[in-house]
Symmetry: C2
Subunit: 197 residues, 2 copies
DNA sequence: GTTTTTGTACTGACCGGTCAGTCTAGGAAG
DNA sequence: CTTCCTAGACTGACCGGTCAGTACAAAAAC
């Protein structure tokens, strides 16, 4: 399983992911060429096609990997916490994730609301999984009376997800010199106020 | 000035704008071909290049036109209103605009945070102009004591702009059957709470 | 009022470059 | 020697941009 070969291959795939995510974040999927990805990863073009079926599949696996990680961190963040604390933990987890994987966050923000792309279904599905974790928390909060009863669970959940994304990426792109902790504070403040019963 | 020729040409340019904005909203700038745009507008490819210098210039003029309109509506919305009412009017104006030009809003959301694209400077500039209107309102509110003194004007303004965009487009793309008035209510509620002194 | 000229809007075949994907020779690991 | 993987030249489709030519309205000439 973790013999030299598998480890080496896993390493190559990882380098390709990193290269692809950076380039696609900057330029978008269509404007990014496979040659660029291979060059930045320091491998030959053939290696890309040895490791991935196609450019689209590489991107889909990238999305799966990236959002899977986010979903996992969401789950880890909320386990065992009461609703209102869990909500704050989710905001923190999202921003923490964005800080660590800023290129992926930027990519997500740009490609999330597209329609008519081959990988759109995949992305929609993955988005649903991540938001479901938020929705579970919100639902529990509404049921227990910790959150306002008139809160629309689906809307609130997707809004929370999107707002964190846009505010953080906006900060990263347009005011990159300022610390992300400030965004976190601002967002927590907003969520706290909105969550008031 | 408004003879047959100029009117005809203006009409063609308008049709090209409409076709381009829809296609780019769905697929992105790079994935949209000039042939597609021409076909949807019902003109020959050459006509695109008769009316616009290049694909990039067409897109830049599109951005200028679209954001210019938004900025104008922002200005019209705030004139003569006291800070807190002006802020609510801005939210209403933004959502009203997004409802009317949903494709353009979707396009903006997807291309706004890109880096390393030829037209990035243009977009950055235009974004600045639109946000400046918001910033003036916030600044006046902070100065007059109508808004919290510790509000960071630049951050608050760009956050307000971005949040309206994501929440509205998210709704349009993922829950298109529900009325946008609900989003407006939700957003106004949030802004009202955050703006509390 | 008719004919000729001119300028403008548009057309679509075509060109050159680019890019996703293929193929095969060869290097590394065991 | 065999197996697994990588390199990078190559191919064919596609796409941005060009250009010689058409259509047609309005002015100019008579």
């Amino acid at each position: 399983m973790t013999d030299g070969r598998t480890r080496r291959r896993e390493d190559t795939r990882q380098r390709l992911f990193v290269a692809a995510v950076e380039l696609i974040a900057e330029q978008g999927f269509s404007a990014t060429t496979v040659d660029d990805i291979a060059a930045r990863a320091g491998v030959a073009k053939g290696t890309v096609y040895y490791n991935f079926e196609s450019k689209t599949v590489l991107f889909e696996e990238l999305l799966r990997h990236g959002i899977g990680l986010l979903t996992a961190e969401f789950r880890a963040a909320v386990t065992g916490l009461p609703p209102r604390e869990a909500l704050a933990a989710l905001v923190r987890a999202e921003l923490d994730y964005i800080r660590r994987y800023r290129a992926f966050a930027q990519l997500l923000l740009s490609e999330m609301w597209r329609t008519n792309r081959e990988w759109q279904q995949t992305l929609r599905l993955l988005r649903g999984e991540a938001i479901e974790v938020i929705a579970e928390t919100v639902r529990a909060g509404v049921a227990s009376g910790d959150l306002p009863a008139d809160l629309d669970v689906r809307t609130a959940s997707s809004a929370l997800f999107g707002v964190g994304l846009v505010v953080a990426v906006d900060w990263l792109v347009f005011q990159p010199d300022r610390p992300i902790e400030d965004v976190q504070e601002a967002l927590l403040g907003i969520v706290r106020r909105v969550a008031q019963t």
